[in-house]
């Protein structure tokens, strides 16, 4: 095998290509190392290929953690939003993000893709953990970056590497992870009301107002986040909606996603074709599928 770049999917001679794959494996123990780059990556091979097509390669699995305190006594029965919990979440998020950015910066990355976000609220501490793959620009023969976009600080996105590439081809780029949260206590009904209403169909307007309002607040936080990072929009919003495990009367609502911005002059419309999968349970192997690079 030559060490100069070989285009993928070049010759149509499948048999010859496969034989080459076999030869490479035969020599695997003795193959000279062509690149000294040390990387750890949780991306699939297809994702690595796709990233390479926009001039990026994985450097390292990167993470960020934020553990922040929640004051005593905020979970007691009361009314409305648990402001302290929302505040603790916001600072845990900020800490986790800057810790993730710091690590990405250390390894010379342009940004972090496929960030997984975990939120763990406990009585006195809120923990936010982010894990993703830091990616850096591939350099061409003249040491110019193959990745065309310049970022002031590394981007963070919870989009997969695949989504990142598809989006980049349409002219949009991710900026930052943004999130909003609210913790709201269910209001109590007066005993008299509860008895009177037990057989009726009736909307509990104060309940609706409280929860609806809390959701609006979380989304408003999310939107403020997008504006702060200069984004024009947010894609693939994830909504976590669940009771807090140790205080079941409190509903936790977390909304997060990736703020994006169009950096091309205009939206690039991809050509879309319709396909009908004709797969059955049995899947055969055919070498030509190597050429499609795993694109859906």
């Amino acid at each position: 095998m030559s060490s100069s770049p070989v285009p993928l999917g070049g010759p149509q001679n499948v048999e010859a290509d496969l034989a080459e794959v076999g030869r490479a494996l035969a020599e695997a123990q003795w193959a000279p190392d062509a690149g000294a780059a040390v990387t750890t990556s949780d991306l699939s091979l297809d994702e690595i290929l796709l990233l390479h097509s926009v001039g990026l390669e994985p450097v390292e699995v990167a993470f960020g953690v934020g553990c922040t305190s929640v004051a005593f006594g905020v979970w007691q029965w009361g009314m409305g939003t648990v402001v302290d919990a929302r505040q603790a979440f916001a600072s845990a998020l900020a800490t986790a993000k800057s810790s993730l950015r710091g690590r990405a910066h250390q390894v010379g990355a342009v940004g972090v893709v496929g960030v997984d976000v975990q939120v763990d609220m406990r009585p006195h501490v809120c923990t936010v953990v982010m894990t993703g793959t830091a990616v850096r620009a591939v350099l061409d023969e003249r040491s110019h970056s193959r990745f065309r976009v310049k970022y002031h600080s590394s981007f963070l996105c919870d989009l997969s590497a695949r989504d990142f590439v598809v989006l980049a081809n349409a002219g949009w780029y991710p900026l930052d992870l943004v999130a909003g949260a609210s913790y709201v206590q269910a209001p109590r009904r007066a005993m008299g009301d509860a008895v009177r209403q037990s057989t009726q169909n009736v909307e509990l307007s104060n309940f609706t107002q409280t929860l609806y309002q809390a959701r609006e607040e979380a989304m408003a936080d999310l939107q403020r986040g997008i504006e702060q990072v200069g984004g024009t929009g947010l894609l693939d919003a994830k909504i976590l909606d669940r009771p807090v495990p140790f205080a079941r009367h409190v509903v936790e609502l977390v909304v997060y996603g990736t703020a994006v911005k169009m950096l091309a002059a205009e939206h690039q419309h991809p050509d879309i074709s319709l396909v009908v999968p004709v797969d059955d349970r049995v899947r055969a192997f055919e070498a030509t599928s190597l050429r499609t690079g795993g694109a859906e």
Binding site: A28, V38, S69, N169, A284
Partner: protein, 265 residues
């Protein structure tokens, strides 16, 4: 496609498509190979390590009052990574005895990484012969098989070995650690001991993986964190698992993907 004649009956853990793919690449399955390691975990191990940091408490101005102690339990980590290396070595010995060039589709089963009493690792895969391979080398191993292995080679990598790395941090809580962790009460302050424990475990595992890689790259990584409470402390174990690969040649960028809409169910 001409399948190489198997000289004797073989056993294989490969799926049919992966088997076909292996034959197409000229790999000849030789048989299932495995390695196993079982050890008892001494309760002393849970304390054997070194202190990293301690956190004086803000609520007492004098005395030895602490918010928390953070340590690294490297004895446990050595036991587990050693167990994986031994089991893997035994599997490769079996493969070498069959005359294999490598082992594909390697699966690793482990008892829970924070298990108190025992440490158990089972590594198994399908040994393959490659025509034209120079005899005598240590067989390579990879989690990949079939199509994905072909893809790996096609994008310029060759497999080296499967790998497992980990790091355990131990945090002993002192006075109201969660609350006074930052030396201040209230909301929104960083709880330093917990923050440091999380970072120590993860950064340590990545560092260990890098040491293990020795110049190679680790791909297809799964990274996870296990928490356990025992002996009065919290144990945070971060584990990393993947395939070590080396770049054998560079490739030009792939063509951009084609957008399609799938009409299937």
């Amino acid at each position: 496609m001409s399948a190489p004649e198997p000289v004797q009956a073989f056993s294989s853990g490969l799926t049919t498509p992966d088997f076909m793919a292996s034959l197409s690449m000229g790999l000849r399955p030789l048989g299932l190979v495995q390695g196993y390691y079982f050890a008892q975990v001494s309760s002393w191990s849970a304390y054997s390590g070194y202190p990293v940091r301690n956190y004086p408490c803000a609520c007492y101005e004098v005395g030895m009052h602490q918010t928390g102690w953070l340590g690294r339990v490297d004895d446990l980590d050595r036991l587990w990574t050693g167990a994986h290396a031994t089991a893997l070595g035994r599997m490769l010995d079996e493969a070498a005895a069959l005359g294999a060039a490598g082992v594909v589709g390697v699966t690793t089963d482990m008892s829970h990484p924070t298990n108190e009493n025992s440490c158990e690792v089972h590594v198994y895969g399908t040994a393959v012969a490659v025509p034209g391979a120079r005899p005598g080398g240590r067989p390579w191993s990879t989690q990949l098989a079939g199509q994905k292995l072909a893809k790996l080679v096609e994008i310029g990598f060759v497999p080296t070995s499967v790998a497992y790395a980990r790091c355990t941090a131990m945090l002993v809580e002192g006075c109201n650690m969660e609350y006074y962790g930052s030396g201040r009460s209230g909301t929104g302050n960083v709880v330093q001991p917990l923050q440091d424990a999380h970072e120590l475990a993860r950064a340590g595992a990545i560092e260990a993986a890098r040491a293990l890689a020795a110049g190679a790259s680790l791909y297809g990584v799964t990274m996870w964190l296990d928490e356990a409470e025992r002996y009065g402390g919290s144990y945070l174990t971060c584990s990393l698992r993947g395939s070590l690969v080396r770049r054998a040649r560079s490739v030009a960028p792939a063509a951009p993907p084609v957008a399609t809409v799938n009409l299937g169910p």
